[in-house]
Amino acid sequence: MGDKKDVWQGTLALMVLKTLQALGPLHGYGIARRIEQTSGDLLAVNYGTLYPALLKLEQEGYISSEWGTSDTNRKAKYYKLTRAGRKQLEKEAREWEQTTEILARFLAPGKESA
């Protein structure tokens, strides 16, 4: 249970960072919608799980938050990437690519002997 959750948390964090890099400062609802749209139904979980992840990233100093006004003129809390967050995103993205590449090679059928 715990392991699965950790993986989910780690992945979610990476997705949050990527979203903020792509779209610039954004509120929690926007981030949730964006992740849902990009990942399709694969990660159709509660939006609520996003908030502890945001808090964790903020505590670690990768993102910062401040209150602002949305396009629909609503007050909302906006998150944006910090410099440390940018670096972390690069690092994690690289690691993620490596992992997937290795796993892809590993799982690709019939190529072991090549």
Binding site: Y29, G48, Y51, P52, G61, R74, K77
Partner: protein, 894 residues
């Protein structure tokens, strides 16, 4: 780094809850609003849009809870909440809290104070590099006793052993420093070349000894202690001007040792051994302390084995000319503290017993408190609090109590340590390293944690083990429910009584030992005697010097006697009970004309037991015996006619007469005791005096030969004058000091009274006794409070039952018997365990007892009687209250 930052922020989150909560609420609100708007735009009804948004979010409260968990540190929050709750509970019953905290403070404070002494003296490493490599070495003689080294044996050991980094000999003796406004006497140590290398200590200022200083006839140099340097040399670093005249030489001060370095024997000066001629002949003149350091990689055990081998080889080589049969080496720290170890360990044991008794009281209080809260606990359990949380709650409360008790205790220990150091006997080594330092504080902290865990778990397990439903129904059958904790309470009290009895017996045994020591007849009297320690320049063998010394002493006696109020004046080169008593050795019983002329013949005679004897050797005046009231049993004392040129005479004590000449008359026998003072003339025994316990009150008088200062003044450079006067001591001191100054201005005089000498010889015993009695008395008080508390609690819980009994016809005496019987039973069980415990434990005190058996029945019976009486008195009060229960009131109770 990142996770540390997060941890700190989370820690902050614990304390800024409300602000964060409000922030989170509005964030989620705005989230929902945006989602609802979007759903509305997608064509949902308001109701549906709202529902979908909430479902998608996963619930507002659930989300909040998830965030909160991440924001603060949940465990810390629980701890803080429990602490707050615990503090409220404790504050609500302030009386209970106060008693518990102070009981714990008493126990923890006393234990911490004693531990600080034990740590400082026994455990704290010596302040030298690699202190475990330093050891002290002794010769072991045929009787198995450790004795000082002889110089040739030391040299052989040093040159043969391969385990050594260095080996050094040293000998401390008084040095009279002249040339100042007033002559002063100071302890100087002659140390051989590797001494400072062995200790790993070098001078703080100036330089150490070099090879140039360490040869015979070199210009005399010395090192001074830091305290002497500050006190007498004004802390001057201009060493070229620092010269000290002593011992017919002028020494240049070349360096100052670091503060606190006073080895050996609290020396103030260190002088190279090598400037004096070596003594390579005698392997039976045991004059030297030997210290060494083992090489890196060699253990002391290995070194010890090697020393033994070398000692055996030397014994084989020199046969009868050597006393050494073996060698003994001990870590320096152990060697320094060996004599006090058993007493300190005893005190630590006693104080931990006191702590146990104190804890038992607190445990009982906590149990009673927990019983009172049974309903609260039951309700909390029924509402879903799991057992772990309840146990945790008790642990927190115990932690609070122990924390407060510990803080007060450590604070009290701070004063306690000062008091202990002040009270401690002078002989206690390393007192300067006793303080409330970090390791001691850690010990106190550990103690608090241990107590908190023990007390907390005990109460928690007890309080949460019951059945919830039963507890909720308790109100109905109040009287039965308390039975179990009453039984636990009585068990604890029995344990308390047992421990207290052990302490009482220990204190009793020490007390009886002291009484025995005090009732010993020392063989001399101590009242109205003023003592005056004098230190003359050391004498040579020349007749002129001897004559001069005799004249000085004669003058001194005559003029002191003329002081008004002085009744008699005598003197000797050593006083009874002063720590370093006289020399001793082997004498020969010879007839005139038998005195050999060659050294080898002496050696041969020395090995013939029929003409040898062993005795202490003391140079005295005839009035020495009169002042100290040592009785003349037969013959005569010294007289004026016994001058240097007259036949030399000796007085012996009864112990020597009895053991050396059991069936003969010792009067008129002639003995040769030249190895004491180099004078080979025969001594004719002219008198026998009573025995005096010279070395200590606790050892039997040893055989002693007294010689006359007029004939054998060689070893009177250290001389103690005893003055008998009915006047207050101060009235003769200044006159005496003036007389000494006129007779020899270079002689420092130190005054005291014989009563002081006498009482300081008992100070170690009194120190142990005082502390043990204090511990035992405190434990007794606590135990009495404990049994009173438990019995009073029992009576309170059983009031209804007693009422019923009385309503059914029980007489008051039946009730009294019921309650008192219970107290008696508890007492008897406690005492039985205590007696067994005393038998087991008092054995360990063996070395501290004097003429009292560790299983002394009188002590045991009296201690048990005292405890039983006090404990039954404590039961009597609640029992009487039970007897007076009014059935009508009792039945309406609750």
């Amino acid at each position: 780094m990142r996770s540390l930052r997060a941890l700190l922020l989370r820690l902050g989150g614990v304390f800024r809850k409300t602000q964060y909560d409000a922030d989170l609420s509005s964030e989620l609100e705005s989230h929902l609003r945006m989602h609802i708007e979007e759903n509305l735009r997608a064509g949902m009804s308001l109701e549906e849009a709202r529902r979908q948004a909430l479902i998608k979010l996963g619930g507002v409260e659930q989300t909040k809870e998830m965030v909160r968990e991440r924001r603060g540190l949940p465990i810390l929050e629980i701890v803080l909440r429990d602490l707050r709750f615990g503090a409220r509970m404790l504050a609500k019953s302030a009386g209970f809290t106060l008693i518990a905290v102070f009981t714990l403070a008493l126990g923890i404070g006393a234990t911490t104070a004693i531990f600080s002494v034990v740590y400082g003296v026994l455990l704290r490493p010596l302040p030298y590099p690699k202190p475990d490599q330093i050891f002290q070495l002794w010769e072991v003689n045929a009787k198995g006793n450790r004795v000082n080294f002889t110089e040739p044996n030391f040299s052989d050991m040093r040159s043969t052993s391969r385990s050594l980094e260095g080996l050094a000999e040293c000998d401390a003796g008084p040095f009279t420093i002249t040339g100042g406004s007033e002559p002063t006497r100071t302890l100087a140590a002659e140390v051989s070349r590797d001494f400072f290398k062995v200790m790993g200590v070098s001078p703080l200022f100036g330089r150490g000894f070099n090879a140039e200083d360490q040869r015979e006839g070199a210009a005399p140099v010395l090192l001074v202690s830091h305290s002497y340097w500050q006190q007498y040399l004004g802390g001057s670093k201009d060493f070229s001007k620092l010269k000290l005249a002593a011992d017919h030489k002028v020494f240049s001060v070349v360096g100052v040792m670091p503060q606190g370095f006073r080895l050996p024997d609290n020396a103030d000066f260190w002088v190279p051994r090598e400037i004096y001629p070596p003594n390579n002949e005698s392997r039976t003149a045991h004059n030297w302390h030997v210290f060494g350091r083992v090489r890196d990689g060699v253990t002391l055990a290995q070194a010890r084995a090697e020393f033994t081998t070398i000692a055996h080889r030397l014994k084989q080589q020199y046969g009868q000319d050597i006393d050494m049969t073996d060698a003994a080496a001990e870590r320096l720290q152990d060697a320094m503290t060996g004599q006090v170890r058993s007493a300190l360990v005893l005190l630590l044991g006693a104080v931990s017993f006191l702590l146990l008794v104190a804890c038992a009281n607190v445990a009982n209080l906590l149990l009673a408190q927990a019983a009172r809260r049974e309903r609260e606990l039951a309700i909390r359990a029924a509402l879903g609090a799991d057992r772990r949380r309840l146990v945790w709650q008790f642990l927190m409360e115990a932690a609070l109590l122990c924390g407060m008790g510990g803080m007060i205790g450590v604070f009290a220990a701070h004063w306690g340590v000062d008091a202990l150091v002040g009270l401690a006997p002078k002989e206690l080594p390393r007192l300067d390293s006793v303080s409330l330092n970090l390791p001691v504080l850690l010990f106190a902290l550990g103690l608090c944690i241990l107590l908190a865990a023990g007390l907390g778990i005990l109460t928690a397990v007890r309080a949460t083990s019951g059945d919830v439903r039963e507890a909720l129904a308790e109100g109905v059958k109040q009287q039965a429910g308390g039975l179990r904790e009453q039984r636990i309470g009585r068990t604890i009290v029995a344990g308390q009584l047992a421990i207290t009895l052990v302490l009482l017996v220990g204190a009793g045994l020490l007390g009886r030992s002291l009484m025995r020591v005090l009732s010993v007849d020392p063989g001399f009297r101590t009242e109205h005697v003023v003592t005056m320690d004098l230190s003359f320049a050391s004498l040579g063998d020349k007749d002129a010097e001897k004559t001069l010394q005799v004249k000085k002493l004669n003058d001194l006696f005559a003029r002191l006697r003329a002081i008004p109020g002085v009744e008699a004046v005598g003197g000797a080169n050593a006083l009874p009970l002063a720590s370093d008593f006289m020399a001793n050795g082997t004498f020969l019983v010879l007839n005139p004309g038998q005195i050999p002329t060659r050294m080898e013949d002496f050696e041969r005679l020395m090995h013939d037991p029929s003409i040898t004897g062993y005795a202490d050797y003391c140079v005295a005046s005839e009035d020495y015996f009169r002042v100290l009231a040592i009785p003349l049993l037969r013959g005569r004392l010294f007289e004026d006619r016994d001058v240097m040129d007259a036949p030399h005479v000796a007085v012996i004590n009864n112990a020597l007469a009895r053991t050396r000449w059991p069936n003969e008359d010792p009067l008129g026998k002639t003995i040769e005791f030249g190895n004491m003072d180099g004078d080979l003339r025969l001594l004719t025994i002219v008198g026998v005096v009573g025995d005096a316990r010279n070395s200590s009150l606790e050892t039997l008088p040893s055989p002693t030969v007294y010689v006359n200062y007029r004939q054998r003044p060689q070893s009177t450079d250290r001389f103690a004058v005893v003055i008998r006067t009915a006047l207050p001591p101060s009235s003769v001191v200044s006159a005496s000091r003036e007389i000494v100054r006129e007779i020899d201005p270079d002689v420092p005089a130190r005054f005291g009274t014989f009563a002081q000498v006498f009482s300081s010889s008992l100070s170690a015993r009194q120190f142990n006794l005082t502390l043990l009695v204090a511990f035992a008395a405190t434990a007794l008080l606590l135990a009495v409070a404990g049994i009173y508390g438990v019995m009073a609690y029992t009576v309170a819980r059983r009031t209804r039952e007693i009422g019923v009994r009385m309503a059914l016809g029980a007489a008051a005496s039946d009730v009294l018997r019921l309650i008192l019987g219970q107290g008696l039973w508890t007492t008897v069980i406690g005492m039985a365990i205590g007696v067994a415990g005393s038998f087991a434990l008092s054995r360990t005190m063996h070395s501290l007892l004097f003429e009292v058996s560790a299983a002394d029945p009188i002590t045991l019976v009296w201690s048990a009687l005292l405890l039983a009486t006090v404990s039954l008195l404590a039961c009597w009060i609640p029992a009487r209250r039970a007897m007076r229960v009014d059935p009508m009131v009792a039945l309406r109770y609750e």
